[in-house]
Symmetry: C2
Subunit: 320 residues, 2 copies
């Protein structure tokens, strides 16, 4: 067991949080992580009411342990947060955008306020807003992050120093227990893990994507906005996404301005999607994807990650 | 004390190696690191005979403990390695380029062969060549690295698995003892530290650069080839460099092809250099620069880093 201020806060055994991956971290995955002793988090993205109603019911039915819900701050309104809070999550996480407007709602409901940050300025703002937990996200992370972000290893200790005594979690590039151990060594109170949990039996991810993640190497991942532009996503240009390879990346890599100006490219993308020539969604994957070689149950995976982290720390010999 | 296969190999107390930073890791700095209980490394770059003769004499006079020397593999010939080996370094490190032609020379002299790698393929090649120690360098590192490189935290465990039982050191983004501790937690046998040692009393770095490093934030660093092109450097385009801000970056950021085609830009750079309008060299700095707030003696710094690493690991509570 590796107790930290984060595990103490939630009364859970392992310093591991599921990244609230938009859409793919549904109720089954969040519940499985919580049952395993981590903190399961629903990925509610823009707070779609239908998705939330369905998945909130699943997580509540799936575990008696603490769980939470995460939103894309730029994509929501107060109604989404209120609908979530009605289901009594133990934590609400706000990522990407100004969390200010929603802090009062989360506080008033007595939920733990988790704010994800990608640079020093956001970290200071999260402290000022009274975050209970701060997630320091590095550019290694799968899916979205700051276009001008920081790498996890040098960024985490900066946020730890800046936020103390507020507990900080490390996110980005962590896909096995050694990464969890490294996060703790850096002074973090735990690790946020995303891509590794996409390759589990409970994730809302199609089988072809799971296979692609298991097969991929870190060098196969890349970050840009090409696929957001191609699919007509509303993600602000300040955020890029790390994904696996894709035909539209091969076609448009390094030419974001060109594809943004090319309306036909978006129609082609829709056509290619309709005839199944490209995957249904970009395949979000972090740089730690090398370390993923199977797709177990998320409940078992949490225990495995925790055991690996303890072993990694035990393997560091100290002579006094 | 944190003994590892790396400290055992050299018979040194601390799992810390000085990055052989071209020109700035001279004899005084290398000797100071070795006296402190780490492994000091001369940064011999292209093996300039005059520089080597001077600095090798300084390191040999400055310490009785093990020290080594590092080269830019693409920039040397066998003569440079032979001249170094005549001074009986305990280790020779080869970075950036094919180490194959020099392996036999290093082996024959009985020196420890250290090979730095930036991707999986280079790591496999280093194993095949019989490297005694492999350095896994992440893109957070100051100075040069692979244009398409990997981040330290997810890359190190990949190389550790691939190279076992060959000891692996982590490089890139490590500037305090928490980073050293994280490297060990990831399974590395030690940490390679560069930028942090630029801000010491023994580094061959001008006072203005030391001040710039102490004052800088990680977000102030960026990686590209603009300054190499502007100054007419022979660095191959496969390697970019992470530096602090610079007037020529503001002028040419994102336009490497343009500045490469613009002969006048190189003349302007030479003129600006001559009249002191720009620093003598680009200010190499890694993303861990946030964590650097003073410029102590490198000998003291090694002890401080080691103590911080032990404290960071001790702060991770384990309950069995």
């Amino acid at each position: 067991m590796l107790p930290t201020p984060f595990t103490d806060l939630f009364g859970i055994p392992h310093p591991i949080m599921l990244a609230p991956m938009g859409g793919s971290a549904g109720g089954a995955l969040a519940a499985a992580v919580s049952r395993g002793g981590g903190l399961g988090m629903l990925g509610a993205a823009n707070g779609d009411p239908e998705w939330m109603a369905r998945e909130l019911a699943i997580v509540a039915a799936g575990t008696d342990r603490p769980w939470g819900i995460g939103f894309l701050t730029w994509a929501i309104d107060a109604g989404a947060v209120e609908r979530a809070l009605a289901h009594r999550p133990r934590a609400v996480m706000l990522s990407f955008g100004d969390p200010g407007p929603y802090v009062g709602l989360v506080r008033a409901a007595g939920a733990v306020l988790i704010i994800q940050v990608t640079d020093d300025e956001e970290a200071r703002r999260a402290v000022d807003l009274g975050a209970d937990v701060i997630v320091a996200q590095g550019t290694e992370a799968g899916g979205h992050g700051a276009r001008r972000g920081r790498s996890t290893l040098p960024f985490v200790p900066v946020v730890v120093d800046l936020a103390a005594p507020v507990p900080v979690l490390a996110a980005g590039g962590i896909a096995d227990g050694r990464g969890v151990a490294a996060a703790l060594a850096l002074g973090a109170a735990g690790a946020v893990i995303g891509t590794r949990f996409q390759a589990t039996t409970e994730a809302l991810v199609d089988a072809a994507t799971v296979k692609a993640i298991v097969d991929a190497r870190g060098a196969d991942t890349e970050r840009n906005s090409v696929l957001d532009i191609a699919r007509g996503s509303r993600w602000p240009s300040a955020y890029t996404a790390r994904t696996l390879g894709h035909p539209y990346l091969d076609r448009w890599r390094g030419r974001e301005a060109d594809i943004a100006a090319d309306e036909r490219a978006r129609r082609d993308y829709a056509d290619d999607l309709a005839r199944g020539a490209i995957p249904a969604l970009p395949r979000w994957a972090g740089e730690g994807v090398d370390l993923i070689t199977d797709a177990p149950s998320a409940t078992e995976l949490v225990a495995r990650l925790a055991a690996q982290a303890e072993n990694a720390l035990d393997a560091v010999t100290r002579v006094t």
